[in-house]
Amino acid sequence: MRLGMIIKCEECIGCYNCFLTCQDEFCGNAYEGYAAAAPKEGHNWMRISEMERGQYPRVKMAYTPKTCMHCEDAKCIEASENNAVYRRPDGIVVIDPVKAVGQKQIVGSCPYRVIEWNEKEQLPQKCNMCAHLLDRGEKQPRCVESCPTNAIIFGDLDDDKSEIAQLIKQGATAQLTPEFHLKEKVRYTGLSKRFVAGTVVFKDKNESAINALVEICGKKETKQTRANEFGDFEFEGLEVNESYNLKISHPGYEEVKLQCSTSADTHIGEIYLTPQV
């Protein structure tokens, strides 16, 4: 058994219930053998990073809930002394609230920076997937229970029938930072990359250029789309920090060529098509 989670960013609406619920479970509440009480405020074992994407008037928010990844190659286990951090048979990585006292090096060992330092207890602390509840027979951690959109899926990665195993098998999930190579058991879908968007307008009619053909071409990929009822087009999920060539065409109109980069999400603004002469 290997317990894990999939966080579906495309379903996250930024309600902060998981962020708040985690505090409700642990702030001021100790669970002997599992976790010391987190401070009354200030610790976030589940946090949400907010990113504003694009420019007025094409803007969207990306919310990425972030917690302990329960890595199979956990750096915190390596960094701890006296087995103060250990992996349970079900895969949950736990910081022993007694043995870990004084071991501040554990905090800095995590590349994801999701371990907090409890100054009063002199203790590193983090998410334990609510192991104390699971051992009592409960089915899911508190953050999963509190999510209104089922954006956090919890289950056994080794159970082929579980939703979580099937999603991974489909190749639909990713690590938050694959470059760390930590075999994370918390995976993601819907992590934002970059978008390029714009609005195409027929200059002669001052109307949205519905159905204008838009092509974007980068080093690795070429994609096509058509402008919608508002003349809007959008290429989502582009690679970060690439250069792209953009071509907008419509029968009877001069083709427009533009260059853009994906160092940030980009709304090009209004692009005018002029009739061919």
Partner: protein, 844 residues
């Protein structure tokens, strides 16, 4: 340690409350037990099956309730203002700056009751007024209509009329287009989810945030509906000057008109439809009247200019192509306009002439055949699940302002209060300081249309009128949630006001203006019984959640510090006034709970003891699996109304197929307004765009060029959750810490910020002639240039010079800035979104 688990209900969902050693340790949503709890409904639509999660979801601000219960901001003891001496100098000028002296409950009740008796004898019962705030402690019995309402209607007081503060334009406007006065201007919500999932192609959210205010009391149960819309390919268009919380994640298209110009956009849409013939001519001919006059106005055939997209583009600061495209694809797709039912409230309806936009929304949807499959007004796309409404349990306003009266031997509402004088909340400062004051409109006008035209003066002329001498405030804060609230500071310091009581759980912005403070306990500290998210009355069956859940609200812990339940406080006062027997009728609180249980349909399923033991009951879905009757479908099809819209006065008559307007049709030209004042240029019989009296065209815009909009906050229900718990205050963008202070954000576009030398995270002064408020600048692309956004209801009025009206505030009380001017001449609503300001860096 032994853990006990109780059930409770809050303003944002039912919870299980864990208690150890008499202290609350956690709060969790209720996860249903499949072996015992009723099953959920299913909707089959377009080859998919949709069913809600088997749990209650919570609004974010409910999750940290335990920290709010134990907040250091609780009013812990009864207090007397230090320089207030009821037998000597009252020093009203010190309200807001005085310290407080702890007193005993005996002393507090003595002072309050003897002041009530003194004022009644000297000036008459009408000299006392009071009011609750919305969304205080949840509970059928303890909600705002409960202990307060029964007490004051029993002893007699000047009823302080509520304004429909969150949806002004809908009550004062759209009632004259489609009736529904019994829903205060909102249409019925029934069956709309199923209709949308089966038929709708597009939802247009106009001036509404479905990812915050549309949840109302319903937790976040409806947010999963939006995932379903995505699965079905239903498109979402958002119209709002701010890319609101819903728009920022669900919008396929965001359109940002200049604030106050929404009615111009609506007129231009009508223009395109008329010009291109893309409106429902059958509906217009058979279900409406007055269209020809409207058509002539829109096309410029009545002597005015035509309402072209070119004209609207300049007014709204949008491109012509956007307006034309919006109109064309709206007409081409089966569209829900996400306003109309109450979950679409706020925004453009809370602005100068907000009546006009609200009415135009009704007319636009009439031009698209409102009521046919997939086409309707559906506020926030957040109500109308297929629930079983045959099961009876009263909503909190089912008996008006005496909830107990529904099961008592005698109800003191509507025929209890002997005082005929009325005051009006928005005008209370003027009524106290400069009487007499007159206005038109009876606040919540839910009984009939004529209430809107009723004229009032306070003090009431004649022997029964009296100047207001005492205010009893119960929960919440109007400083922060009403408009131009420096007026309230001035009012509280005015010598005309002899006595002020503040009864609340927490120190609110207004609390420090009280002479006597009475500490109330939260709903976790006393018992009650209620249905989740059930308002009853004018808001009956406006359900923004998935399962009807009835809760026995256990007393989880003893009242903290020296606080007491509101019912107990009023019982003590009733005893001193000699009316305890009338107030309680000899009932213990548990007797009241049991009577409500017996009044409901619960006894058909469980005993009181079983219900109390388990703590909640999930109402079974309807027995049959037929489609629910759909809102307005009966009107479209010309059948008698078949929805459970129980207060519809035409139900059961031979006119049950008609709307509540005088003609029974949608009225492009209102008969009621023609009769009342056909020459009213500010709410004319036929709606139209009227430039705001505090907007981009006014002279004031030269001095204060930025338009401030202040919608309801996302992470606080009015002032109840902000500034009570660090967990809420530390949500990014709720408040932001800087230099040891927790600041309220004002959102500004990078362009406007750069022009003023403002950087992200700077402390800035937002100011106009009315006030100055210090905020932290939050630079964002989510606000259109020229407009700035901040939430209202920051609960931390923190003037640099305490107690001085007009002092700069650093707590984020944005309603110090908003105008006190009423919506229009005959419309006594508040226009908080018509507010011009300038912003500059704060150097001190």
């Amino acid at each position: 340690m032994s853990e006990k688990i109780f059930t409770q209900c809050t303003v944002g969902g039912p919870v299980k409350v864990h208690v150890e050693n008499g202290r609350i340790t956690k709060m969790r949503p209720i996860v249903f037990d499949d072996s015992q709890d009723a099953p959920s409904w299913h909707i089959h639509a377009r080859g998919m099956d949709f069913a809600p999660p088997r749990k209650t979801t919570l609004n974010a601000y409910v999750v940290p309730e335990r920290t709010r219960v134990y907040s250091e901001n609780r009013i812990k003891y009864p207090y007397r203002r230090k320089t207030f001496d009821p037998k000597g100098e009252r020093n009203p000028q010190n309200r807001g700056k005085d310290e407080y002296v702890r007193i005993s409950w005996d002393e507090a009740i003595d002072i309050v009751s003897s002041e009530m008796i003194r004022i009644r004898e000297k000036y008459g019962k009408a000299a006392i007024t009071g009011m609750t705030s919305s969304h205080h402690n949840w509970g059928f019995l303890h909600y705002k209509m409960g202990p307060f309402g029964r007490f004051f209607n029993l002893i007699g007081y000047t009823n302080l009329l509520d304004n429909p503060d969150s949806w002004e334009g809908w009550q004062w406007g759209s009632v004259h287009s489609w009736g529904f006065h019994w829903r205060l201007g909102h249409n019925e919500p029934f069956g709309q989810l199923e209709d949308a999932l089966k038929n709708t192609e597009q939802i247009i959210y106009w001036a509404v945030d479905p990812n915050s205010t549309s949840y109302m009391y319903g937790g976040q149960d409806v947010s999963i509906w939006k995932s379903w819309f995505k699965k079905l390919g239903i498109k979402s268009v958002f119209i709002d000057p701010y890319c609101n919380a819903g728009a920022s994640i669900w919008a396929d298209k965001w359109i940002a008109p200049r604030p106050g110009t929404d009615a111009a956009l609506a007129e231009a849409i009508a223009y395109v439809w008329i010009k291109e013939g893309t409106y429902d001519k059958w509906f217009v001919e058979n279900r409406t009247e007055g269209f020809e006059t409207f058509r002539a106005h829109i096309m410029g055939e009545d002597g005015g200019s035509p309402c072209t997209p070119e004209w609207a583009a300049k007014e709204c600061d949008l491109s012509v192509s956007t307006i034309v495209s919006l109109a064309r694809q709206w007409a081409a797709k089966k569209t829900m306009l996400s306003v109309g039912t109450i979950h679409g409230a706020t925004g453009a309806a809370r602005a100068a002439y907000g009546t006009e936009w609200a009415r135009l929304c009704v007319l636009l949807m009439s031009m698209q055949g409102m009521g046919k499959p997939g086409v309707n007004c559906w506020g926030g796309a957040s109500s109308g699940p297929p629930m079983n409404f045959d099961f009876n349990f009263p909503g909190y306003s089912a008996n008006g302002w005496d909830a107990f009266g529904i099961v008592a031997k005698k109800s003191y509402f509507p025929h209890g209060n002997p005082v005929t004088q009325k005051a009006y909340r928005l005008l209370l400062p003027e009524i106290v300081m400069n009487p007499p004051v007159s206005w038109t409109g009876e606040g919540f006008c839910g009984e009939n249309i004529q209430q809107q035209f009723k004229h009032f003066t306070c003090p009431e002329p004649g022997p029964d009128g009296a100047p207001i001498k005492m205010i009893h405030r119960h929960g919440g804060s109007f400083i922060s949630s009403m408009v131009d609230t420096n007026k309230w500071v001035r009012m509280y310091q005015n010598p005309n006001l002899e006595f002020v009581v503040m009864q609340d759980c927490h120190w609110q912005s207004e609390t420090k203006f009280g002479d006597i403070l009475l500490p109330a306990s939260t709903n976790f500290e006393h018992s009650d019984i209620s249905e989740w998210n059930s308002a009853g009355g004018y808001g009956h069956y406006e359900m923004s959640h998935n399962h009807r859940v009835i809760i026995y609200q256990h007393k989880c812990i003893e009242p903290l510090w020296e606080s007491k339940p509101d019912y107990e406080i009023y019982t003590l006062l009733a005893e001193k006034l000699g009316v305890k027997e009338e107030y309680t009728e000899g009932n213990s609180f548990e007797d009241w709970n049991r009577k409500v249980f017996e009044y409901s349909d619960l006894p058909k399923y469980v005993t009181f003891e079983e219900f109390k033991e388990k703590g909640y009951f999930v109402v079974p879905p309807k027995a049959d699996d037929k489609d629910s009757p759909v809102a307005m479908r009966w009107f479209y099809e010309g059948r008698p109304c078949d929805t459970p819209d129980r207060l519809n006065p035409r139900l059961g008559t031979d006119k049950a197929h008609l709307l509540g307007t005088p003609s029974g049709k949608v009225e492009f030209v209102s008969r009621s307004l023609t009769e009342f004042d056909k020459n009213d240029k500010e709410r004319p019989p036929m709606p139209r765009y009227i430039p705001s009296w505090e907007g981009h065209r006014t002279e004031l815009a030269k001095t204060y060029p930025l338009q401030l909009i202040t919608p309801h906050p996302k992470f606080s229900y009015h002032t109840h959750n902000d500034n009570k718990t660090a967990w809420i205050d530390r949500i990014p963008q709720h408040r932001i810490e800087k230099d040891g202070y927790s600041w309220w954000p004002v959102r500004i576009s990078p362009k406007d910020a750069a022009a003023r030398g403002i950087k992200h995270g700077d402390i800035v002064k937002v100011h106009n002639d009315r006030a100055g408020v210090l905020c932290i600048a939050y630079l964002t692309e989510r606000i259109r240039p020229g407009t700035v956004h901040s939430y209202e209801s920051g609960a931390k009025y923190d003037p640099l010079e305490p107690g001085k009206a007009g002092s700069i505030d650093r707590g984020g009380c944005m309603n110090l800035l908003t105008p006190g001017r009423l919506l229009s001449k005959n419309v006594p609503g508040m226009a908080c979104n018509s507010c011009l300001v300038e912003i500059s860096r704060w150097e001190n």
